[in-house]
């Protein structure tokens, strides 16, 4: 076991391999506040990568309704329970959120899935995990917010639904893909060394020729984004649409494109990019890269379950209406600060949030040009001033991809095409 620095945990941790970091890292930000669970991302991925025989149960991209839903069923509850048992003396975060890029969320004092030796079976295992049963993969939308009628009367809904007992519940939609972790658990667990992390963009792939289908990666991935295919007897996972990220899609004319799930997002919750990496595993300061800005400057986007220890590269703007203890468990101690900033965005954050889904090109840099003041008054009991600034997105070669305003118009079809779908 080697010692590596996990900046999301603010400390060194053990990992089966020595640290090695890519030149750039595939990373993304999902704004959960805007997700409506339309599953456009899910189907974009399905129709691109997992439409073949033997892949029926595979949803490399999925959207699940929290706290009830999960794909595979109860994946996070089960791994959190295992982690609890591995940390009988307790686990938690100490210190405060800080501007130090090596400890932005303080320090996690518990054991990660790589440090739970006493829980591992057999002794040769490297990562704490579990293998989901077949039926847990079968119903990706189970317990979601489907309307339900009376038992024994299929297809009929309550005629007076508004008079039914009302439960004070909360929920939100959690969109997920592989996090292309900096310390991938799938890679750590593979006895064949069939899984690798690409040095140019940090995308984690399974070499289909080397894989023998032992399913150690399926067991180890805490996010359960490595999946076994029965008819080919090898495992598969999200490939981050690497031909698009490489700029090999003919539509892009050589420019890196965001993944299919990102490009298909009609809720405009997704933004994906490639962040520069330092040799010590931290992100190279790149102030005007939108992903870097949201994670390290505005600090509105947080990693999913950082306590697992894999340093995931998927970041989420937490849903502001959800009870904080639940969110702190899911996104770590940066939650309160992230929600405060998102609820009261400054001029720059408002502009950066407009970058989401205006183009399918990967944005490498943005620039904000100041516009006129459009509102001065109160919002949520606080004084606010809003400006109609212009934000400009630039691509890999520094060329302008698009520009848009904080107050963007609503785009509608012309009347003659109103029903053209």
């Amino acid at each position: 076991m080697a010692n590596v620095h996990n900046w999301q945990l603010g400390r060194e941790m053990t990992y089966p391999y020595k640290a090695a970091y890519p030149e750039r890292q595939f990373a993304f930000v999902f704004n959960i506040n805007r997700c409506i669970a339309c599953q456009s991302c899910t189907m974009a991925c399905k129709s691109t990568w997992t439409f073949s025989k033997g892949q029926e149960h595979m949803w490399w991209a999925n959207v699940e309704t929290k706290p009830y839903g999960g794909y595979p069923m109860f994946w996070d509850m089960k791994i959190l329970d295992l982690l609890d048992r591995a940390n009988l003396e307790g686990k938690g975060w100490t210190g405060a959120t800080s501007s130090d890029p090596k400890t932005p969320y303080g320090k996690f004092d518990g054991r990660t899935i790589f440090e739970a030796e006493r829980m591992l079976t057999p002794d040769s295992a490297r990562v704490l995990g579990y293998l989901p049963a077949d039926e847990e993969w079968n119903s990706p939308n189970i317990y979601e917010d489907n309307p339900v009628g009376q038992r024994g009367a299929p297809g009929e809904f309550h005629k007076t639904g508004e008079q039914l007992p009302e439960h004070k519940t909360w929920f939100f939609y959690l969109a997920r893909i592989c996090n292309h972790c900096s310390y991938p658990a799938c890679l750590a667990a593979c006895p064949r060394k069939a899984i690798y992390k690409r040095p140019e963009d940090g995308i984690v792939l399974i070499d289909q020729k080397e894989c023998r289908g032992y399913r150690k990666c399926v067991e180890a991935c805490p996010y359960k984004k490595s999946m076994y295919r029965g008819n080919t007897r090898v495992s598969e996972k999200c490939v981050a649409c690497y031909p698009r990220v490489e700029g090999k899609d003919p539509e892009s004319k050589g420019q890196p494109l965001e993944t299919r799930c990102m490009a298909a997002c009609i809720g405009q919750i997704r933004l994906q990019g490639l962040v520069k990496m330092n040799r010590d595993g931290t992100w190279t300061p790149d102030r005007y890269n939108p992903i870097y800005y949201m994670v390290h400057v505005a600090k509105v986007a947080l990693p999913l379950y950082p306590q697992f220890g894999t340093e995931p590269n998927g970041y989420y703007i937490p849903p502001r209406w959800v009870p904080r203890p639940y969110l702190r468990q899911m996104f770590g101690p940066g939650v309160d600060q992230a929600i405060e900033r998102y609820e009261n965005p400054d001029r720059e954050l408002l502009a950066v949030l407009q970058l989401f889904r205006k183009s399918n090109r990967i944005i490498y840099r943005y620039e904000v040009k100041e516009g006129p003041k459009v509102y001065e008054g109160t919002l949520r009991g606080k004084r606010v001033t809003l400006y109609n600034d212009t934000v400009i997105a630039y691509g890999r070669e520094g060329q302008e991809i698009f520009r848009t305003n904080v107050e963007e118009p609503l785009h509608v079809r012309p009347a003659k095409h109103a029903n053209s779908i």
Binding site: P67, E162, E407, P409, R413
Partner: protein, 107 residues
Amino acid sequence: MPYNDPAPDDPTILLGVTLPAGEEAVREMAYVFAEEFARMGFDEKQLLRLFKNPFYAGAHQAYRALGADAIRTIIGECVNAWGRSTVKVQDVQAVQNVQDDLSGLSL
């Protein structure tokens, strides 16, 4: 939907999660509804209609919990701050250009 009711003693089944916070959590949800719909072009009248409609269960729950006056204040604030949306008719020409660009490729 589940095929059967969950066993009541199954520890992994969540049987309903109540809001641990009271009025503040509801107020937060009300602001989310009002801000998002105001940014989509709803005016004060349309927003109030949404909150009054019992079939929009979340918004209506907030309406009943906080009262009509509080909801009107929230709506007013959100429409003032975000309610300047304009509508732009999107021509189909831009889409046609992309198709022209791809026509020479052997896809």
